[in-house]
Amino acid sequence: MIVSQQKPFEEILKMLESEKSIFIVGCNGCAEVCETGGEKACSELKKKLEETKIKVNGCTTVDFMCNKLLVALKISRYKEKIDKVDSVIALTCGIGVQSLASVVDKYVHPANNTVSLGGFQGTWPSAERCAQCGECVLDLTGGICPITNCSKSLLNGSCGGAKNGKCEIDKELDCGWENIYNRLKKLNKLENLQKQVKLRDYSKMFPKAELRKTTFYDVEK
């Protein structure tokens, strides 16, 4: 099971500082078990956000947000509402954020940090998408993870080693940062690339054993 923790509310507010209206999407899979997704976490976040000046224009949940097809199907029902908001916030793991970001033309903010995948990459198995870094950076990068998509896992932009959009280590491999640049450009958010100097906190990769044990599937003992 994928274990996630909700980001501190102040961090969520900072992500949404330039937004007037948002739409909430939560996951009914692992995140619901962790109480970072599902109906309950969504309505709690909705309530908290409504106490600020941000308007919540709607809220829904998807059974497994790591399943791109399920996400696309469910989201299509809310197209009109989503078209009207500034951005979407996702209560799910890093994989769920990336699947949602790949199917909506809105900026997707991650509400959670993914701390452990328990060896499971969700139900979008074509690639490794989340590295359980514990401090999800997808908010800066338009829903494409620089840790898994850049061969150097850089956090502050491309290294300059890409040629024709491909990585210096493999001519068949997309430069993750060029994909991020293209996504941000499309969403009119290139200013994100200037926002902050990001240093990774590797200590977050070692969540407490207690936290990693809080799964229904932890039957190995």
Partner: protein, 291 residues
């Protein structure tokens, strides 16, 4: 002497040396000495192209001993933030005043393909780390003992990249973080560079255009295929093809380099020549370019 102190006074010229694969550094230093008085400073590459070599820091120290001004290149590939900060403090004690901070090539491009690529920091966060040290604290926020170090902080940019916008964005981020001068990837397309500088001059930091001597047609074609942000136009390749004897002796490469410098000079604040072993050709290039 800090390069940042030189820019207001003159058109700055730097070259670079790559330390040897071995510990006997004498030959390398003697070669560098040919350029003493002809260039303002010498970059020392840091395990360039991810090939294990004699250390950049120690080479810089020896250059300093011989009265030359080194630019200590520091890449993020081989050391984590603890080792990087530690080496930069060591550089300060050796009197090294100029740094060039880079992300570095991936380990799989070099001769130890099985090595662990570190990249704990990247070019931007390394600049941030050096700025912190200059403020008297380390990246963890702990106070340094004594007087903080002070450097002239260099960074790199690739003006002929396609697309170029991500390069400009990252350049701006580097400037905002603390980069004080730039050395560029090799330039062969003057027009592209001029267009780049039209946008880059707003950042208000000196830019030194990169020159790599074209040694052969094969080298030009290899770079076009494999080196990011470098494109040698057909007319230069034709020029190299024309007179085989001249190309063999390096004369054509020298002439092209000198011509590029003359064409680039009005648009930048300095030139950085990367001779890739042809150090002995640098004085001739400078002479032909009128520097």
């Amino acid at each position: 002497m800090k390069l940042t102190e030189l820019f207001p006074k003159k058109f700055v010229v730097t070259s670079e040396i790559g330390p040897p694969k071995g510990w006997q550094i004498e030959k390398c230093l003697n070669e560098a000495e040919h350029l003493k008085g002809k260039v303002d400073a010498m970059n020392v590459t840091d395990n360039q192209s991810s090939v294990m070599r004699f250390g950049s820091l120690a080479t810089c120290h020896f250059l300093k001993d011989r009265g030359m001004e080194p630019v200590f290149q520091v890449a993020c590939r081989d050391r984590n933030r603890i080792a990087l900060q530690s080496d930069i403090l060591s550089a300060a004690a050796f009197g090294i005043e100029n740094l060039l901070l880079l992300t570095g090539d991936h380990t799989t491009l070099g001769d130890h393909k099985d090595a662990k690529p570190v990249f704990d920091l990247d070019a931007v966060s390394l600049i941030y780390a050096v700025k912190k040290l200059e403020e008297g604290v380390d990246l963890a926020g702990n106070k340094l003992d004594g007087v903080p170090p002070k450097f002239s902080i260099g960074a790199v940019v690739s003006p002929c990249s396609d697309p170029v916008e991500p390069q400009l964005i990252k350049m701006e981020k580097k400037v905002k973080t603390g980069a004080e001068f730039f050395q560029t990837q090799a330039i062969y397309e003057v027009e592209k560079f001029v267009k780049f500088m039209e946008k880059a001059k707003q950042f208000g930091v000196p830019v030194m255009a990169g020159i790599v001597i074209l040694k052969s047609v094969g080298m030009a074609k290899y770079m076009n295929e494999n080196v990011a942000g470098v494109y040698v136009p057909d007319n230069l390749i034709e020029e190299l093809k024309k007179d085989k004897e001249k190309t063999k002796s390096g004369q054509t490469g020298i002439e092209i380099a000198a011509r590029l410098i003359k064409e680039l000079k009005p648009y930048c604040q300095g030139i950085h020549i990367m001779p890739l072993g042809w150090d002995d050709k640098v004085p001739k290039i400078l002479e032909l370019a009128g520097l």
